[in-house]
Every structure is written in C-alpha cells, then in structure tokens.
Amino acid sequence: MQIIFPTMSRLFFILMIGVSLYMLFRGHNEPGGGFIGGLIAALGFALLAMAHDVGAARRALMVHPVALMGGGLLLSFVSGLPGLLSDQSFLTHWWLEIGSLHLGTATTFDIGVYCVVIGGVLCLVFRLYEGIEQ
C-alpha cells in the first residue's frame, strides 16, 4: 500500500492542470498553446490513474475522453466560422483589442485543440492502464 504517491498525486494533479491552463493561454505570443497545454493536462490525469485507479481519473475527467475530443473539435471548428463570414476564409480569426489585451477567436481554437489533445491522449492512456489493471 503506497501512501506518499497517492497523497501527493492529488496535489500534483491540481498543479499540473494549473500549469496546463497557463501554458494554454500563454501560447498566443510565447511558446505554449493548446497542444502543449493539453499534453500537460493529460499527464495530470494519467498521474491520477496511476496513483489511484483509472476509475478515479475517469471521475475526475467527468466526461468520456472521446466526447471531450468531439467537443473540442466542434469548438475549434466553430471558431473558424466567423472568418468565413467576413473574409470568405475559414480560420481567419476575429480580434478584439482591449488596451494591450488581444482577444480573438484564435483563443477559442486553442481551447478546442486543448480538449482534443486531452481526449485523444487519455483515450489511449486509460485503455492501456485498464489493460494493466486487469
């Protein structure tokens, strides 16, 4: 019976999700973005699955990984549609400037990628871990 790893894993899980979100939003101008953020978040869930069991990680994720993947893909897809209206060009992004802050549909796209990566990686990882548990 392990004690240290499962206890610390909860803490690290929260930390990793935090870092992944930071990476996600930092990605606009600096290294980072949806893909890297998604990988870090997926690692967080994988850590939970390793320390406790896959069921715990699935509960923490709340939705099925494939559903997350689909939702993310849909979000990314929808984020490309506004450009179609203004420039007849899919994924040409809209931007809103508030002072020095740039908000745009590109962020939505990145959030979609973030979800797709989490879903895709976890789909694989959960199945592999379940195989080991059996």
Binding site: H64, V66, A67, M69, G70, G71, L73, L74, F77, G83, L84, L85, S86, D87, Q88, S89, F90, L91, T92, H93, W95, H102, G104, A106
Partner: protein, 506 residues
C-alpha cells in the same frame, strides 16, 4: 447559395463531415443522436457537393486559397469536373451507406465509434479529391488511413486485427513512398502547389531525381489503388471488416489512389515521357487479369467482390495507359460507374448475409424463391459490372476498349474483353449459388431483408439503370472533364487567377 456564402463552396464538402464527426464524437454516450447527426451530415454533404458540381459546371474550375495566402504559398483547393464528380458520387455512396447502417449496424459497433470514424473517412476522401497541393494530398491520405484502421477493427476480432495489420503495414509503406516522392519533387522544384508544379516542371531539366520521384508516385498510388503486383493487401483485409465498411472501402478507397494517380500523371508528369506508359500498361494488364483470376477460385462473396475491385481498377488504369482524351473520358466514366456498382454489390452481399446468415456461397442458396426482389436488385449491378448492355458497365467498358483499339493498344483492348467474360463467370457463380440453387441446409431459415437495406441497394441500382439507359449526358460530361484534366494550362490559369496576399493581420 446565400450571398454571404459565395466563394466558400469548396469549403463545405470538407467542413460538414468534419463538423458531423465532431458532433458524433461529442455525443459518444447517445447512439441514437449519433445516428441522426450522421444522417443529417450525410444529406448536407450531398447537397453541398451538388452545389459545388453545379458551380463547376458553369465555371469549369473553382479554386480557393485557404487562409487567403496567394498561391503558391497558401494551400490551394481546386475542383474541376473530375474532382467535383468524385465528391458527388462519394457523397451519394456515403449517404447510401448511412441508410444501410440503420439496419445493419450493431450497438457494439456504434460503441466502437463507427459514426465519428465514418465521417472522418469522408473528410479524408473529400479532402483528397479537392486539394490542389501535393503535400496536402499526403495529409488527407493519412487522415483516411487513421479512420480506415479504426473502421476495419470495429468488431475487435482476431481476423479483423489480422486484416488491419496487413492493411496498415502496406499502406504505411505506400505513404512513406509518397512522402519520399514529394521530398524529391520539392528538392528539384522548390514548390508543392500542384498548379505551380505543373508550371515549373515543363521548364525543369529532366533528372534522375524527377524520374525516381515519378516512379515512387506510381508505386505509392499503385499500392493504394491495388495495382497488379501490389494488390495483395486488398483481398486480405477488405472482407474482414463489417459489410458497410467493406462497401465504402470498395467504392471509395482504391478510387482515391486512382484519382491521385490521374492527377499526378496528367498534371505533373506526362505518361508519354520517361517510359511510364509501358509500365502503366503492364500494370493495367496484370491488374485486370490477376484480379479476375483471383476471384474465380473464391467462394466467399466478399472475397470474390474484393478481387473484382482489383480487376476493375485495371480497366481504369487502361485509360491512363492509353492517355488519349478519349481514353481519359472512358476512365472518368468508368470510375463513376464502378463506385456505384461495386458498393452496391457489397450492399447486396450484406443483404445475402442477412437473409441466409452466411457469406459462403456453398452454404447459401434459395434466395430466388424467398426474396425475388433482392435477386433482381443483385442482377442490375452484377450484369453492369460484367458489362452487359444496356447497363452502365457496358458503356464504360465500350469507351475504354474503343479508346484502346484507336490508341494502338489493341492487345490491352483484347485482354479487357477476355477479362469481361471471366467477370461474367464470377457474377453467374454468385447468381447460381446464392439465388438459383435450392438451399443446401435441411431447415431453410431465410430471414427477411429490412427495408433500410433494400432502399440504398435499389437507389444505387436506379443510378446504374439511369446511366445505362441514358449514357449521353455522362459521356459528354466525361469528355469535357477529360479535356480539362489533360490540359494543365487551364488548371494553372485557374489557380493563379486571383493573386492576393493575406488580407487580415492580427
């Protein structure tokens, strides 16, 4: 099409399946919702592709630079008559498969992700037909490969995994060859845009790298299309998948390889130069002959049909080998006819399985009495495949063989006629065994075939009949399509007509 959507017609045949795949995946826990979303998506895709075809008919070639980057820097999407027709016919087939799936798909298969994967496959197929960038074509091939692997292993049985591995190994090999060919081409010309390549290549000195690149393209697409020495993955994997998946694969996947072959060897390389013609002719002859021989010794309906895909690919390659406008038109006609007929035969195989419980012809039988409607519906695509007038296959074969006699390739034409005879043999084997003879089982247990299965079979049969009894519009269409295809100048002019640098900056 509404005003604000003008200029986006190339986008929708790709976007709708993509969005549908996303919705189906998001509705993971609700199979009914997935089914509904999938059907809606398929209908919308068909509408979008028909709109595209209509625009192509009036404007010849439609182009779009995604992201607004001017060619050759941006990724171009191009639709000429050939590609628009391919998109339409694949959307028709996909819709037929979607309806067939209502009756045939088991809950477990939906759980394994049939709907998202199926839509993902359609994204890849439509993307491959519409792209105007050689590297982008590679990307679509990869998209198709991923979706295909998921679809083959839907039931997770040993046979399916076996088939999937054979499929994956050979197709990965093919994509590596494809990638190397692209690399060599890029090294020589410095561009990946097909129109730009078509502009640059005639001015480039012939070199070993270019010849090797052309050969690699031929091999890579040859594996995908199931040419003669490289076809063995196809009958080893197609019959393991569930019948809807087999039908869609049979109709579309090899044809994407053929389509890519036609694009590359009309636009980038000339068949007449560099000794490609004898190789293609040899491949075409071998493909026809070995496909039909392979089918003759099989007893599983799906295996017979799989081998016939190969032999029919030979007929289409015949068009490329001769490479006259007439032959190209014949090939275009042949592809369209073949997609409809071959998928339909697989659907019939699914119905035979539903009725008799087996794919093995030795165990099946008695269908003529128990479901005469199915017998008629089988006869239409079967006779059409064999090339019996006045069905669509007759005109397709007539065009190709006529072109081969006129194009000084009489031996290929003669071979094609012999292969046609052998096709009749295979089709009559299915007819005699499954429909004519009495059921070999003591207790004949014949189940009814659901309407959702008969509707797509009947619809595709009607298309075959319509083409057969009124081939003139399609022949005319194929002729114009072949003219456009064999004239790279039109393609180049269309892509480079609107020089425009990215308009929007963040």
């Amino acid at each position: 099409m509404p005003e604000f959507l003008a200029g986006t017609e190339l986008f929708w045949p790709l976007a709708i399946p993509l969005a549908t795949a996303a919705v189906c995946a998001a509705a993971w826990a609700y199979p009914r919702l997935q089914q509904a979303a999938s059907l809606v998506g398929l209908v919308l895709t068909l509408v979008a592709s028909l709109v595209l075809l209509q625009i192509v008919l009036s404007e010849d070639i439609v182009t779009k630079q995604f992201g607004g980057w001017a060619p050759p820097f941006g990724i171009s999407f191009v639709a000429d008559r050939f590609s628009a027709a391919m998109v339409v016919i694949s959307s028709v087939l996909a819709l037929a498969a979607g309806i067939f799936a209502i009756a045939d798909l088991r809950r477990r298969q939906v759980k394994a992700g049939f709907y998202p994967l199926f839509q993902g496959l359609m994204v890849g197929v439509n993307g491959a037909f519409l792209t105007g960038d050689i590297f982008n074509l590679y990307v679509w091939f990869e998209v198709m490969l991923i979706a295909t692997l998921g679809l083959i292993t839907l039931d997770r049985t040993r046979a399916q995994l076996d088939g999937a591995i054979k499929y994956a190994v050979l197709n990965l090999f093919s994509t590596i060859l494809f990638l190397m060919a692209i690399g060599l081409l890029y090294g020589v010309t410095g561009t990946l845009n097909m129109a730009d390549l078509a502009r640059v290549l005639p001015q480039t000195e012939g070199s070993v790298a270019l010849t090797v690149s052309a050969m690699l393209f031929l091999l890579a697409f040859g594996i995908k299309a199931g040419f003669f020495p490289l076809f063995f993955w196809l009958p080893a994997s197609y019959h393991t998948a569930t019948i809807i998946v087999s039908a869609v694969f049979a109709g579309l996947l090899t044809k994407v390889g053929v389509y890519a072959c036609f694009r590359v060897f009309t636009l980038l390389f000339e068949v007449n130069e560099g000794g490609i013609r004898p190789i293609v002719a040899f491949f075409a002859a071998g493909t026809m002959l070995f496909g039909v021989f392979g089918a003759a010794i099989q007893w599983d309906v799906r295996r017979i049909l799989s081998f016939h895909i190969i032999s029919q690919i030979g007929y289409i390659m015949l068009g490329l080998a001769i490479a006259t406008p007439l032959a190209m038109a014949g090939a275009v006609f042949y592809i369209i006819h073949h997609i409809v007929v071959k998928a339909n035969l697989f659907f019939v195989a699914g119905a035979i399985h539903r009725a008799t419980g087996t794919y093995d012809l030795r165990k099946a039988g008695g269908l003529m009495k128990s479901s005469p409607l199915l017998a008629v519906l089988f006869l239409i695509p079967a006779l059409s495949l064999a090339g019996i007038p006045p069905l669509s296959g007759f005109w397709a074969k007539f065009m190709v063989i006529d072109a081969s006699f006129r194009g000084d390739m009489a031996w290929l034409g003669a071979l094609a006629l012999v292969v046609g005879l052998l096709t009749v043999f295979s089709m009559s084997k299915i007819w005699i065994e499954a429909f004519w003879k009495t059921s070999p089982r003591k207790v004949a247990r014949v189940r009814a075939v659901p309407v959702a299965m008969l509707v797509p079979i009947a619809a595709l049969g009607l298309i075959t009949l319509a083409i057969g009894f009124n081939p003139e519009p399609l022949v005319a269409f194929a002729n114009v399509a072949a003219d456009t295809m064999t004239d790279p100048a039109q393609f180049i002019a269309a892509v480079f007509s609107e020089p425009r640098i990215a308009g929007v900056t963040p």
